[in-house]
């Protein structure tokens, strides 16, 4: 076993502990940020150094160190970096517990990195719990009634989802006798279809796995926690939930369904149908429910449910096409990258605006275009990207995912998705409309701290870059999607 390959994760663990210790001794809270960021940077550097080479899985084939995992680790570290940038001004609201806050962000990032790398049911569960437990605490960090309530809801519903997931895992283990994904695949492929069909345990197990994962990625009908938690949580954590948690969840789903249940083809068709079904209700419900929202965080919550729906279109495309077709996987990876940048940008802009307004109501955003032109411009770009209009990244992301679905003969699904995109334009553009064309209540300029600006510039540049020259990112995504360890 090669412990060196575990250095990125170890670094994060060490730095998380370091932050907690430092917090006891220093009054300089800025130091905590610096330490956390350096932890992320070191971890990312080590991960980057491993990029492109192939390594054996570590810990008895429990953790893969392939390019898929490395790509997601980098993505998650990047998102965590942006979240910390976004938190610096926000953490003034709970000045006393900053050490815990940053440590928990690092620990949940660690959990998510593990989620992207695990190839074993038991390790998957541990990674999920590590992530979730840190997030439960982070959601309740504001300690007001809304935040506490949402944290408790998240915890209880998360527990239910965990239980269902465990049940599903148990069924699959009982059916195959294996916990390692590659081994599970070998057992299934050795069985005859009749054997599998005569025992519904495997399919029931799959449904329960999808339920457990669906909770993480906010797929309808397992999304009920999303609006309440998004509204109650500290805004940087909402961003973190909507982006990183979703990315890690999808990384997990991609790996599990691709490497354990990708073959035989009739099996993948079966879970493909489930994902197609989830995609349809996810997109439709998310978009329709977003329309009457008056709170921008809640609106983005529903929007993220709809975005998960689009991503599930990619999963359906994967199930419906032979495993060798790479476009399904690479388009999901591209979409996740684009979505991560876009949503981070949108949330950072919201933090910048809402901090000063002390309100998350869309009506209060009236005339922001005059008061904070650059932030409003960035938010506009991100919303345009969420609709999926060029030149923003969202357009290319949808283009790739829909192409994958069309290639898998899922034209009907694409038509539903396109109609949904049109519906979504209504509520995204309403914010744009209010910001630029409405008359502001006051003329006072809104200034934003440099850290937020930096985060905003970074994410907007990324959005534009992916939108204008998608070829390079798509190459990376294909590279990440191709190297899977079975």
């Amino acid at each position: 076993m090669n412990l060196a390959l575990f250095i990125p994760e170890l670094t994060l663990a060490v730095f998380a502990l370091l932050v907690i210790l430092l917090d006891l001794f220093t009054e300089q809270k800025r130091l905590l940020v610096q330490v956390s960021v350096s932890g992320l940077v070191i971890s990312a550097g080590v991960t980057l150094a491993m990029w492109g080479e192939s390594f054996p899985a570590i810990f008895n084939n429990m953790l893969a160190v392939d390019n898929f995992a490395l790509f997601f680790k980098l993505l998650l570290l990047g998102v965590a970096f942006l979240v910390i940038l976004a938190s610096i001004s926000y953490t003034q609201k709970f000045a006393r517990f900053q050490g815990e806050y940053y440590a928990l962000v690092l620990l949940s990032t660690l959990g998510m990195m593990l989620m992207a790398a695990t190839t074993d049911l038991i390790a998957i569960y541990i990674a999920l719990e590590l992530t979730s437990l840190s997030l439960y605490a982070l959601v309740g960090f504001l300690k007001d009634s809304k935040s506490t309530e949402s944290s408790l809801k998240y915890l209880l519903l998360g527990a239910i989802a965990s239980v269902v997931l465990l049940y599903g895992m148990a069924l699959i283990f009982g059916f195959t006798g294996q916990t390692q994904l590659g081994e599970i695949a070998r057992v299934i492929q050795a069985m005859s279809p009749q054997t599998i069909l005569s025992f519904p345990a495997l399919t029931l197990g799959l449904v329960m796995l999808i339920t457990g994962f669906g909770f993480k990625i906010a797929a309808v009908p397992f999304q009920m926690w999303v609006p309440d938690v998004y509204e109650g949580a500290p805004t940087p954590i909402t961003a973190y939930l909507s982006v990183a948690s979703k990315a890690a969840g999808f990384a997990l789903i991609l790996r599990v369904f691709f490497s354990a249940f990708g073959l035989p083809e009739w099996l993948s068709l079966n879970w493909g149908i489930i994902f197609a079904f989830l995609a349809v209700i996810g997109m439709t419900l998310g978009n329709i429910a977003a329309i009457p929202q008056t709170n921008i965080k809640r609106m983005l919550g529903y929007s993220s449910i709809a975005q998960a729906g689009y991503l599930l279109v990619g999963m359906a495309a994967m199930g419906f096409s032979p495993v060798v077709d790479i476009l399904g996987r690479s388009s999901i990876i591209f979409f996740l990258t684009s979505y991560a940048l876009t949503n981070m940008g949108a949330f950072i802009a919201i933090i910048a605006i809402s901090n000063k307004l002390d309100s998350d109501l869309i009506d209060d955003y009236t005339g922001i275009g005059k008061r904070a032109p650059l932030v409003a411009l960035a938010l506009t770009l991100c919303l345009v990207s969420l609709i999926g209009m060029p030149p923003a990244a969202g357009f290319m992301a949808k283009f790739y995912i829909f192409s994958a679905a069309v290639r898998s003969n899922l034209l009907w699904l694409v038509i539903i998705a396109v109609i949904n995109s049109v519906i979504s334009a209504y509520y995204y553009l309403r914010v744009v409309n209010v910001m630029w064309l409405g008359k502001a209540a006051s003329e006072e300029k809104i200034s934003s701290p440099g850290t937020l600006r930096l985060g905003l510039v970074l994410s907007c540049l990324g959005v534009l870059l992916l939108g204008i020259i998608p070829g390079f990112a798509m190459l990376l995504a294909e590279f990440a999607a191709r190297i899977f360890v079975f």
Binding site: L156, T211, F277, A289, G471
Partner: protein, 635 residues
């Protein structure tokens, strides 16, 4: 030899200039600062140097083309592939010189002309985008991107013509330009789609190859070529879509100079030249180009005879000269049409800058209020006369060389030939009519109502405005000499070269140049007789030809025809009326139904979101059941 990176830079520098000006300078720097102008001028200066480098490299390159590797923009394995690439051939190289040189001169001039305007930064931001779009258009190697830049050029012209949007005439003119050119764009888009459906490629080189090898059916070739030409008719203001250009002078005068010389209207001629192999292999399409060009040339010139607004005279002269270019393309080929575009760009830009300079001094564009400016504005006068001589086609100025070639090419077709000849006469008449009214006689007062009025005494414009005019005047004299030896023609792919002395005096051994020179001379003489010496009274002459005068002055009632008959009756009452019915009853009904349904759905979902934990948990259970059912029934 220039490398592809630098060719990319030609397009990118003005884009950067646009980004820097609109996102970094305009929000933070006061309008009095001149920095934005300098940013764009620096960018364009560099671009001009790069363009000259490109031209020299293309001249030295085999087949006069530098290969530029494609960038894959969107690639889906086994599916759609869209390339992003550039062409660097002789046509592009010449256009690059025209665009960057004229744009640079116009921007330097604008530093003086736009000084103190509250929209100063906005002006240079749009100017950057305008130039960038035009450069993108001439560099694009596939029709898809060419179309994108084509539309961007249209958008920028809309923004710049309507630059003083608070003036209703400017806003209307901008709308008119946008809508009328849009009509042609329909044809262009249809042509592109027709080609794509039949060849599944947007790549210009491949389309050329298919046209040359005859792989395209001739009907498709003809129709797509005519579609593309329709786009060119709109952009280059050819008959019958010429009506927008004369109104387009509502924008700042330097904008007119740029639109008329290098960026907007040249795009149409360029497009035909770029897709020339398609036209070449379809006699019908090529004849259409020649006929429309010839008709436009004389048609627009006739209206130029009677206008009183100096910019309108120039505007009709542009339409007429563009007709010449189309005629040249139709009868002679790329080299002849583009050579006229090349020469025309310099003297027409100069004429507009001159008009702007006059306006700067007198505060009006109405020639009846000017007069006597020769003494107070010697530089403007001298350069304006040089440009007028050049456009009239007087030997050895640049206009002579390109116009002569077009006239010679039409010699075998009597109708087109006589159109071209009459236009020569008209051109020299209306240009010198303008010269004599504006600069001759005594000063008649001017006006202070419009932009730039400076009190009672007119004066010469500042150096920053005069210098670009002098540079352009030099070019208006010498730019035609490029083809005296036939080098321009061979560079563009046909003709042969000969010695300079031979080429320089050769026209005098032929009858045709003599005829056209005599006609031009007669035009000048008539203008001199009527407007300088008043041997012939303009009023009497006008009355004598009353019906014709009115016909020209009312622009053949084309505006009225379009507005009253086509727009008001056919479109508004007929088509739009029935569409409105359809829209109100069917579409609105459906949309409102969907909208009501959606909103009701949204409310229902919101009601389900009660915040009660038990219910949420229950939903997870229901969800699992639903999935099992889906699998049971569909799996």
């Amino acid at each position: 030899m220039i490398t592809p990176q630098f060719i990319w830079l030609i397009f990118l520098l003005p884009v950067f200039s646009f980004i820097i000006i609109s996102f970094f300078v305009r929000p933070f720097v006061k309008a009095e600062s001149r920095i934005t102008g300098y940013i764009l001028i620096t960018a364009l200066f560099t671009v001009l140097a790069l363009s000259i480098w490109t031209l020299l490299s293309v001249m030295a390159a085999p087949h006069h083309e530098i290969p530029v590797p494609d960038i894959n923009w969107v690639v889906i394995e086994g599916g759609v592939t869209i390339h992003l690439g550039l062409i660097a051939d002789s046509l592009t190289a010449v256009m690059l010189i025209v665009v960057t040189l004229v744009s640079l001169m116009v921007q330097i001039y604008s530093q003086g002309y736009m000084h103190g305007d509250p929209g100063y930064h906005r002006y240079f931001a749009w100017m950057s985008l305008f130039t960038a779009s035009m450069l993108g258009l001439v560099l694009a190697d596939n029709l898809l991107f060419l179309f994108v830049f084509w539309e961007l050029v249209g958008l920028c012209s809309y923004l710049l013509i309507g630059f003083w949007f608070h003036k209703p005439e400017a806003a209307d003119a901008a709308k008119k330009a946008f809508i009328v050119t849009r009509l042609g764009d329909f044809g262009f888009l249809a042509g592109i789609l027709l080609l794509y459906l039949n060849t599944s490629t947007f790549d210009i080189h491949e389309l050329h190859k298919l046209a040359i090898t005859g792989a395209l059916a001739s009907a498709i070739l003809t129709w797509s070529a005519i579609g593309i030409f329709a786009g060119a008719v709109g952009k280059s203001a050819q008959f019958p879509l010429h009506i927008w250009l004369p109104d387009a002078m509502e924008g700042p005068t330097p904008v007119s100079a740029l639109i008329h010389a290098a960026t907007m209207v040249a795009a149409g001629v360029f497009l035909v030249a770029r897709m020339f192999p398609l036209f070449e292999h379809s006699t019908e399409a090529l004849t259409t180009v020649a006929v429309i060009g010839g008709v436009t040339a004389i048609f627009a010139a006739s209206m130029g005879l009677v206008m009183n607004d100096i910019k309108r005279v120039l505007a009709y002269s542009t339409v007429s000269q563009l007709g010449y270019m189309m005629l040249g393309l139709g009868v002679g080929g790329v080299a002849i049409g583009i050579f006229h575009l090349f020469n025309h760009a310099f003297f027409k830009a100069l004429l507009f800058l001159g008009a702007g300079s006059i306006n700067h001094a007198t505060g009006t564009f109405d020639m009846r209020l000017m007069g006597g400016l020769r003494r107070v504005m010697p530089w403007t006068y001298a350069t304006f006369v040089i440009a007028s001589l050049s456009i009239a086609g007087i030997w050895p100025l640049s206009g002579f060389w390109s116009k002569d070639e077009i006239v010679v090419s039409t010699a075998s077709q009597p109708v087109l030939f006589s159109l071209a000849m009459i236009t020569v006469f008209m051109t020299s008449f209306y240009m010198f009519r303008a010269v004599f009214i504006t600069f001759g006689g005594d000063y008649r007062g001017g006006s202070q109502n419009e932009h730039g009025g400076h009190g009672s005494r007119p004066h010469e414009s500042p150096k920053v405005m005069v210098t670009p005019m002098v540079v352009l005047a030099i070019l208006a004299v010498v730019s035609g000499l490029w083809n005296v030896t036939g080098h321009f023609g061979t560079f563009m792919g046909h003709g042969q070269t000969h010695s300079f002395t031979y080429g320089f005096f050769h026209p005098f051994t032929q009858p045709l140049p003599w005829i056209s020179l005599i006609l031009a001379g007669l035009g000048i003489l008539l203008a001199y007789a009527m407007y300088s010496k008043q041997w012939l009274s303009p009023e009497k002459t006008g009355n004598f030809f009353k019906p014709l005068y009115t016909l020209f002055y009312r622009k053949y009632w084309f505006d009225e025809l379009y507005e009253n008959i086509i727009v008001r009756v056919a479109l508004v009452k007929g088509l739009f009326g029935s569409l409105k019915q359809f829209d109100n009853q069917v579409v609105d009904g459906a949309i409102n139904g969907v909208a009501r349904g959606t909103i009701a759905g949204g409310r229902a979902v919101r009601r389900a979101q009660t915040g009660q934990l038990q219910l949420y948990g229950l939903f997870i259970g229901i969800g699992i059941l639903a999935l099992v059912l889906v699998l049971y029934f569909a799996g």
